[in-house]
C-alpha cells in the first residue's frame, strides 16, 4: 500500500533530475508497477479490507477506484513517452517543460492514488485538492492561450467547489464529534459505524455540500463548466487521466459521503439528490454531444454524460445498479482514457481537433483510426464492450428499484448521446470509395485518404517520400498505440467475461455501499 504511493512519488522526484528520456521510461515503469500493485491488493480487499500504517485504509470500494486510477496512469505514462518524443518543435517539446511534465504527471497520479487510500475524510479532501493544483499546472503546460484560459477557469472553479466540499467535511466532523465525543479525528470507519446516531441536520448538510463540492470535480451539471475547457486544452495523456481517473476519484469521495448519509438519514434522501444531479448531467451532456465540432470537447461532454450515469445508477440503489456503477467506473476509465489517447494521435497527425477535418483518419492511421472508432463505440456502450454490460445493469437496476420513469429517461438520453458519438464516428470514415479514389478534392485535411491508401498499398509504412511528411509514417509512435490497444482488450474482457476475482470485488463493494457489510 505504501509502495503504491512511494513509487510514483519517487518517479516524480526523479523526473526533475533525470534526463527527459530516462524520466520518461521511469514514469512508464512506475505506472505499470502501480497497476500491478493495485491488482495485487484485490485479494486482500475481497477478504474484507486492510488497515495500513497511519491513516491508510483499504476496502473493496477503494480498490476499485485504485484500479481505475492505476490503469489510467499506466496507459497515460506509457503513451506520454511517444507523445512527448513526437511533440515537434512546440509547447511540450522544450526540455525544461518535459521535466515539469513528467514530475507533474507522476505527482498527479500519486495524489489520485492517495485519495482512495485515505481512511480519513480531511486527508481525502487534501489529496483531492492536491490533484486539482497539480493537474491545473499540467493543463497550463501546453503553453497556448487557450490552455492558460482553461487552467485558470479550472483551478478557480474546482477550488471553489472543493472549498464547499471542505465545508461539508466540517459538518461531517461536527456530526461525528456529536456522536463520538471530542477526540474524534474525521476517520471514516468510526463515522460510518456510528452513522445511525449522527444528528440529522448536520448529516444532511454534510452530504449536500459534499455532493455539490466534489460534484464540481466530478463534472455534475450545473457545476461542470470547467470540464470541457480543461479536458480539451490539456495535453492528451493528461486529458485521459483527468477524465478516466480524476473524475472517478472525485466520485469516490461522493460515494463515501453517500455511505454516511445513507446510514444517518436512510436511503431515500441521498438517492434522490444523486438522481437529480445525474439526470441533469445526462440531459445537458447528451444535448451538447449532438452538435460538437471539437473532438476532445466531445469526449469531455461524454465524460459529463458518464458521470451522470454513475450518479443516476447510485440513485437507483438496487444491488444490480450499484454493481453496474462500479463496473462502469472501471469501464469508463479504460474507454475514456483510450478515446482521449486515440484523439491525441489523431490531433497530432492532422494538426487539428475539429471533427470535420479528421475525415479519412481511418486510412491514414492504420491502428489508431480504427481503435479510436472502437473506443467511441465502447463509449456509446456497443455490446461487446464493458460499458454495455454496466449500463445494462444500471438500467435493469432502475426498473428493479421501481424508478421506472427515471430508467426510461435514462435509456432515451443514452440513445441520444450515442447518436451524438456515432455522428462524430461516421465523420471519421472515408468519404466513400469514389471520394477516396479522387482524394485530392478533400483538401481540408492534410491526410488525404487517397494518398494514405496509396502509401499503404506500397507497404512502405516507414518510407517517407511523399509531400506530406507529417502523415507519411502511418502511426507516429508505437508507444502511442500499445496503451490504447491494452485499453480495448480490458474493455472486451470486462464486457465478455469479467474475471471471477473482479466479480467478487464488485459484489463485496456493493455490500459496502448498501451498508450491509
Amino acid at each position: 500500500m505504501i509502495a503504491l504511493l512511494a513509487v510514483p512519488a519517487a518517479a516524480a522526484a526523479g523526473s526533475l533530475w533525470l534526463p527527459p528520456r530516462a524520466a520518461a521510461l521511469a514514469s512508464a515503469a512506475s505506472g505499470i508497477s502501480c497497476l500491478a500493485l493495485a491488482a495485487g491488493l484485490v485479494p486482500a480487499a475481497v477478504r474484507g479490507g486492510l488497515a495500513g500504517p497511519g491513516p491508510l485504509r483499504l476496502d473493496a470500494l477503494s480498490v476499485i477506484f485504485l484500479l481505475a486510477t492505476a490503469f489510467g496512469y499506466a496507459c497515460a505514462a506509457a503513451y506520454s513517452v511517444g507523445y512527448l518524443s513526437t511533440a515537434g518543435g512546440h509547447g511540450l517539446a522544450r526540455p525544461g517543460r518535459q521535466h515539469w511534465y513528467w514530475a507533474g504527471l507522476n505527482l498527479f497520479a500519486c495524489s489520485m492514488l492517495a485519495a482512495p487510500l485515505m481512511g480519513n475524510l480531511a486527508l481525502m479532501w487534501v489529496a483531492v485538492e492536491v490533484t486539482t493544483i497539480v493537474s491545473a499546472l499540467l493543463v497550463a503546460l501546453e503553453g497556448t492561450a487557450a490552455a492558460a484560459e482553461a487552467a485558470w477557469k479550472y483551478v478557480l472553479l474546482a477550488s471553489s467547489g472543493l472549498a464547499i466540499a471542505l465545508l461539508g467535511t466540517m459538518f461531517a466532523y461536527y456530526a461525528g464529534a456529536r456522536a463520538l465525543g471530542p477526540g474524534y479525528d474525521l476517520a471514516f470507519a468510526p463515522l460510518l459505524h456510528a452513522s445511525a446516531h449522527l444528528p440529522a441536520t448536520a448529516a444532511r448538510l454534510a452530504f449536500v455540500l459534499a455532493v455539490l463540492g466534489y460534484g464540481t470535480k466530478v463534472g455534475l451539471v450545473p457545476v461542470h463548466t470547467w470540464l470541457p475547457d480543461a479536458h480539451s486544452e490539456a495535453p492528451s495523456p493528461v486529458s485521459a487521466l483527468l477524465s478516466g481517473s480524476l473524475l472517478a476519484v472525485s466520485f469516490y469521495a461522493i460515494l463515501r459521503f453517500f455511505q454516511i448519509a445513507q446510514g444517518a438519514l436512510g436511503p431515500r434522501f441521498p438517492r434522490d439528490v444523486l438522481l437529480a444531479f445525474g439526470v441533469a448531467s445526462l440531459l445537458l451532456a447528451a444535448l451538447y454531444l449532438l452538435d460538437q465540432r471539437d473532438v476532445k470537447r466531445m469526449l469531455a461532454y461524454s465524460s459529463v454524460e458518464h458521470m451522470g450515469i454513475l450518479a443516476v445508477g447510485t440513485g437507483f440503489g438496487a444491488p444490480v445498479a450499484l454493481a453496474g456503477v462500479l463496473l462502469h467506473v472501471l469501464a469508463h476509465a479504460a474507454a475514456k482514457g483510450n478515446a482521449f489517447l486515440g484523439a491525441g494521435v489523431l490531433a497530432r497527425a492532422f494538426g487539428t481537433k475539429r471533427i470535420p477535418s479528421l475525415r479519412g483518419a481511418l486510412d491514414a492511421l492504420p491502428w489508431s483510426g480504427p481503435m479510436f472508432l472502437l473506443a467511441l463505440g465502447a463509449l456509446g456502450a456497443l455490446p461487446p464492450f464493458g460499458m454495455f454490460r454496466s449500463e445494462f445493469e444500471i438500467v435493469a437496476g432502475g426498473f428493479e428499484s421501481g424508478a421506472t420513469a427515471a430508467a426510461a429517461l435514462l435509456v432515451v438520453l443514452l440513445t441520444l448521446a450515442f447518436l451524438g458519438l456515432s455522428a462524430a464516428g461516421t465523420a471519421l470514415l472515408p468519404p466513400g470509395t469514389s471520394g477516396a479514389a479522387r482524394g485530392a478534392p478533400d483538401r481540408a485535411a492534410p491526410g488525404r485518404p487517397g494518398a494514405a491508401r496509396a502509401r499503404m498499398a506500397n507497404g512502405a509504412a516507414g518510407a517517407s517520400a511523399g509531400p506530406e511528411p507529417a502523415l507519411s509514417r502511418g502511426e507516429p509512435s508505437a508507444w502511442m498505440v500499445v496503451p490504447v490497444l491494452a485499453g480495448l482488450v480490458v474493455l472486451l474482457v470486462l464486457g465478455v467475461h469479467p474475471p471471477a476475482e473482479l466479480q467478487g470485488l464488485l459484489s463485496r463493494a456493493v455490500d459496502l455501499l448498501r451498508g450491509a457489510a
Binding site: 479532501w125 493544483i133 484560459e149 485558470w152 461536527y174
Partner: protein, 232 residues
C-alpha cells in the same frame, strides 16, 4: 438563534468578530484598488486568527494558539506578499492604471447594484442558515450563519470581478469564511489535519501565483474579459 437570554462575553465577542469579517468581505467587494483589497484580506485573516485565539482560550484548546500563529504567518504575511509582488509585475497592463492597481472598472455590474445583490444574498444566506439547528450549546449563536453569508459574498466577489487578482482574493477569502465556520463547529479538529489544510492553502497560493504569471505573460493584462474563447 433562539437566544432567550443575552449571549455571554465569549459568544458576543465571537459574533462581533464574525460581523467584522463579513464587513471586510463587503469591503473587498467594493474596493477600487487592488492594493487595498489585499490589505483588507490581510485584516480579515487577522480577525480569523484573533477568533482562533479567543476560541482556544475559552474552550481550553491550546493547540488553537499554534494554529492561529501558523494561519497568521501564512495569511497575513505570505499571501499578501505574493499578491503584492504579482501586482507590481502586473503594473504594465493597460487595464491596471496607476501603481496601486486600479481595478474599479473590472466589475461586471455597477458597484451599487453589486453591493445590493450581495446584501440580499448575504441576508438570504444568514436567515436560511439560522434555521439549521446545528450550532450546539458551546457555539456562538450567529457566527455560523454569518460564515454562510461570507461564503456567498465571496462567490459574488469572484463572479463580479473580471480580473485574476480579485478572483484569487475572492477564493482565498472564501477559504477564510470556511475557517470561520470551522472554528465555530469544528474547533477541536486535530491540529495535524488543520496544518494539512493550511499547507494545502500554501501550495494553492503558489500555483495561483504561477498561473497568474502565465496569464499575465500571455495576455499582457490581469483582466479575464478576454478569457472567452472556450465555449459550448
Amino acid at each position: 438563534m433562539s437566544a432567550g437570554h443575552a449571549p455571554g462575553v465569549y459568544a458576543g465577542g465571537a459574533d462581533v468578530i464574525a460581523v467584522l469579517i463579513l464587513l471586510a468581505e463587503f469591503g473587498m467587494l467594493r474596493q477600487a484598488l487592488a492594493r487595498d483589497q489585499v490589505r483588507l484580506y490581510a485584516a480579515q485573516s487577522g480577525l480569523i486568527s484573533a477568533l482562533a485565539v479567543i476560541v482556544g482560550a475559552v474552550r481550553g484548546l491550546p493547540e488553537l494558539y499554534l494554529l492561529a500563529g501558523l494561519s497568521a504567518a501564512l495569511k497575513i504575511m505570505v499571501i499578501p506578499l505574493v499578491l503584492r509582488r504579482l501586482l507590481r509585475a502586473g503594473r504594465v497592463g493597460a487595464d491596471l492604471a496607476g501603481p496601486d492597481g486600479d481595478i474599479a472598472r473590472s466589475g461586471g455590474m455597477s458597484l451599487a447594484s453589486t453591493v445590493l445583490v450581495a446584501t440580499a444574498v448575504a441576508a438570504a444566506g444568514f436567515f436560511a442558515a439560522s434555521h439549521f439547528t446545528v450550532g450546539g450549546a458551546a457555539a456562538p449563536p450567529a457566527a455560523l450563519s454569518l460564515s454562510v453569508s461570507v461564503v456567498l459574498v465571496a462567490f459574488i466577489l469572484m463572479i463580479h470581478r473580471r480580473d485574476v487578482l480579485s478572483q484569487a482574493i475572492g477564493l482565498f477569502s472564501l477559504e477564510n469564511a470556511i475557517s470561520l465556520a470551522a472554528l465555530v463547529i469544528a474547533a477541536s479538529l486535530p491540529l495535524v489535519l488543520e496544518a494539512a489544510l493550511l499547507f494545502d492553502l500554501l501550495v494553492a497560493v503558489i500555483v495561483f501565483g504561477l498561473l497568474i504569471r502565465i496569464h499575465h505573460g500571455r495576455a499582457e493584462s490581469l483582466s479575464t474579459t478576454d478569457l472567452t474563447s472556450l465555449r459550448g
